[in-house]
């Protein structure tokens, strides 16, 4: 069939019209397309339980946001990848950014991974909202002015708070100290921070034993024997994984927990495993940023704790809260930037600008990202007690400190900051 000039004009006009319509429709489509958020969650090894906990927080936040019309009407779609070695995690991050074209990436726990991800997020121009990973090498920040990386609270916050509580509650009650900490930067930096703060408070002590078991070790027979020989008045440990209950069990069997006071900066991460049978009362125990049994908890925390226990038959730990915050902070930033852009979906740069200084309600109370992209939060620690309805220890009284009190300010070295304290 031959096409007449009239038919040709009609057809091309129609085609042009359709094209115009589609061009017109494209932004509307983008407005309704889901917001893609990549998630990097550890799923194997010693980090796996913590990774799972963070993922639960992200998923709960996502369900709630999506149930309430998403972010500016766009649903959140999660694309979950695994956090493993720095090399493999960088490749996963690249996949999320280049292939899945995510709007942001939430996740990562390990500092080694964080150190690799920070520069890659900057290079890929992809917003990265860390759960627990920092870009600190030791206690020094390696990425002082990032654009795309938003980091967790400093590694040594828990040690600073536990040290302050030690100075407040135990000053004059101990003389000899032993440290048993996991053999990597977190363990070494926490121990060093503790000793520096003790010195600052004029607490004269003698270190009778420094032990460095491998991260995730499962046998402490030799370490407990060494501690038994050293007979310290106080044992300081920043174990945070399954090593905590194993160490306590063996230390209890050897009679150590009855003789020595305990400072466990981060053991609350595995709080359900700290059974009353072997965990003494009166130990200083830290829960990082979420204490599941806090009487003054917000309705939001109570709802989450209830949901978590019903669904997983477990009481949640801090990593869920870190994960939760990254999602609600991103939502709040998009909404703040959109208000400035007349209600339209903001450009990535505007979202980044809005994230700086953004405050949002996390499970454990208000949190924010500082202007230098470091998270600010509230930490929970206290003295262990057996007076509760569980078969594991909880804390009473519950002490809270914010990162304003226990985190070095922007651009200041940790030890310079500690030395500047007036005590």
């Amino acid at each position: 069939m031959r096409t007449t000039r009239r038919q040709f004009l009609a057809l091309s006009g129609g085609a042009l019209g359709t094209a115009a319509l589609r061009l017109d429709a494209a932004p509307a489509l983008a407005q309704n397309a889901p917001v893609k958020i990549g998630v990097l969650a550890a799923k194997a090894g010693v980090l796996a339980p913590v990774g799972e906990s963070g993922l639960r927080g992200v998923q709960w936040a996502t369900e709630r946001v999506n149930a309430a019309r998403g972010i500016l009407g766009r649903r959140i779609e999660l694309i979950v990848e695994e956090e493993s070695s720095p090399k493999d995690t960088v490749e996963r991050f690249r996949k999320l950014s280049l292939q899945d074209r995510v709007d942001a990436v939430s996740g990562a726990i390990s500092t080694g991974v964080g150190l690799a991800l920070g520069p890659v997020a900057e290079e890929m121009k992809t917003i990265w909202l860390s759960w627990d990973a920092t870009t600190q090498k030791g206690v020094e920040e390696t990425l002082p002015k990032p654009k795309y990386s938003f980091r967790s609270t400093d590694n040594e916050c828990e040690a600073v708070m536990a040290s302050l509580l030690t100075a407040r509650h135990l000053k004059g009650k101990f003389r000899t100290v032993a440290g048993i900490n996991p053999d990597y930067s977190y363990g070494r930096d926490n121990w060093a921070a503790f000793l520096a703060i003790m010195k600052k408070y004029g607490i004269e002590l003698s270190v009778v034993s420094e032990l460095w078991p491998k991260l995730g070790a499962t046998d402490f027979t030799a370490h407990v024997a060494a501690l038994g020989q050293a007979r310290p008045d106080l044992i300081f440990s920043c174990f945070w994984a399954g090593d905590t209950p194993i160490f306590l069990k063996q230390a209890h069997a050897a009679g150590l927990t009855a003789k020595s006071k305990l400072v466990l900066t981060t053991g609350g991460g595995v709080h359900e495993a700290l059974k009353k049978d072997f965990t003494p009362e009166g130990a200083i125990l830290g829960y990082n940023c979420l204490y599941f049994d806090w009487a003054r908890a917000s309705a939001l925390q109570k709802e989450f704790v209830r949901w978590h226990h019903e669904k997983f038959k477990e009481w949640p730990n801090y990593e869920s809260d870190h994960g939760y915050f990254t999602i609600v902070a991103y939502k709040a930033a998009v909404e703040r930037a959109a208000r400035a852009a007349g209600g339209k979906w903001p450009a990535p740069d505007a979202i980044i600008q809005a994230l700086e200084g953004i405050e949002a309600e996390s499970l454990s109370g208000p949190r924010r990202f500082r202007e230098d992209h470091i998270m600010e939060a509230t930490f929970f620690q206290g003295m262990t007690t057996h007076k509760n309805a569980y078969d594991f220890v909880t804390i009473d009284p519950v002490e809270t400190m914010t990162t304003k009190q226990i985190q070095k300010p922007s651009g200041v070295g940790l030890y310079d900051w500690i030395n500047s304290w007036k005590v």
Partner: protein, 313 residues
């Protein structure tokens, strides 16, 4: 002839990959090239000389840490200098390690290489001031042939100049290894693999040749390590961990150690398979374990054994 045609076609396809494939797939080829070079070395030991090393990751990590140390500590950014330094350092380290290891064969050789690999891992982990401990050391973007390519962002750099640089290094390494395998030295290694006593009887210095093979393998491992470190931007102790050595052996078995190009096919297949399976399931390690069992039991000659007829390496 057909085989050569296929190899050339594959090479041409790899050369065109940055123009045809999405950037992410191109960045995935980079570790495959790096592992390809490291595995050419490992296969000189295993496929040609019959010695299975479970510590080859030592040299891959050595290459990565050389790149990290030179770029961050000494301000050396020339990638040619980094590759040369890594190769030299690997040879220096391989001399004492090799002298000890090649005194043994079979499982004893494997265990000894594993021990040295873990020794190096512990060194990287414990000597904090020198190696950065668990946090590792950053690897800065190097200069290629003296050029910084500052106008390109990292992805542009990786999928452009660095890609072709890595491909050229892989081609050079492949040609060099081909010469080595086909030389009288390579033939002697094969004779040693088949029957060391007989080889010694006809005048081949068995231990010396094994030692040479060990040092050459180490150099290839370290060169691969330098290439592996640049896309990651960090050298970390896990690169030297025994599981990384295990992965290298897996890649070799997957590709087919009897074939000269088996290592390259194995590296490519492993990387793309890992990328696919990791996204599908959290139990990807289980899938890989099962796959390894299947390869060993049913396809001991690897992927190339499926498509190419038997041919001595």
């Amino acid at each position: 002839m057909i085989r050569r045609g296929l190899a050339l076609a594959a090479a041409a396809l790899l050369a065109l990959a940055p123009l045809l494939a999405p950037p992410y797939q191109v960045t995935l080829l980079l570790p495959a090239f790096a592992y390809g070079i490291a595995l050419l070395g490992l296969n000189l030991l295993f496929g040609t000389a019959g010695l299975l090393s479970f510590g080859h990751a030592l040299f891959v990590a050595l290459g990565a840490y050389t790149a990290a140390g030179l770029t961050t500590r000494y301000g050396v950014l020339s990638f040619e200098a980094i590759v040369a330094a890594a190769a030299g350092l690997a040879a220096v380290v391989a001399v004492p390690v090799g002298l000890l290891c090649v005194r043994y064969v079979k499982i004893y050789f494997g265990m000894l290489t594993l021990a040295f690999g873990m020794l190096f891992y512990s060194f990287l982990y414990k000597f904090y001031a020198l190696t950065g401990g668990d946090e590792g050391l950053r690897v800065l973007r190097p200069l290629l042939l003296g050029r910084p390519f500052a106008e390109l962002d990292k992805v542009g750099f990786l999928t452009g100049p660095f890609y072709y640089y890595a491909l050229a290094l892989l081609a050079l390494a492949t040609l060099a290894m081909r010469r080595i395998v086909r030389s009288p030295f390579g033939l002697s290694l094969r004779a040693i693999r088949e029957n060391a006593d007989k080889a010694a009887f006809v005048g081949v210095s068995v231990r010396r040749y094994r030692f040479y093979a060990f040092v050459i393998a180490a150099v290839f491992g370290a060169v691969g390590g330098t290439l592996l470190a640049v896309p990651t931007g960090l050298a970390d102790p896990l690169l030297a961990y025994w599981t990384h050595s295990g992965n290298l052996v897996f890649m070799l078995l997957l590709g087919g150690f009897e074939h000269f190009l088996g290592p390259l096919v194995g590296a490519l297949a492993f990387i793309f398979l890992q990328d696919l399976v990791m996204s599908l399931t959290a139990y990807w390690r289980f899938v890989f374990g099962a796959l390894l069992a299947i390869v060993v039991v049913f396809f001991p000659r690897g992927l190339l054994g499926l498509v190419a007829p038997e041919r001595p390496a």
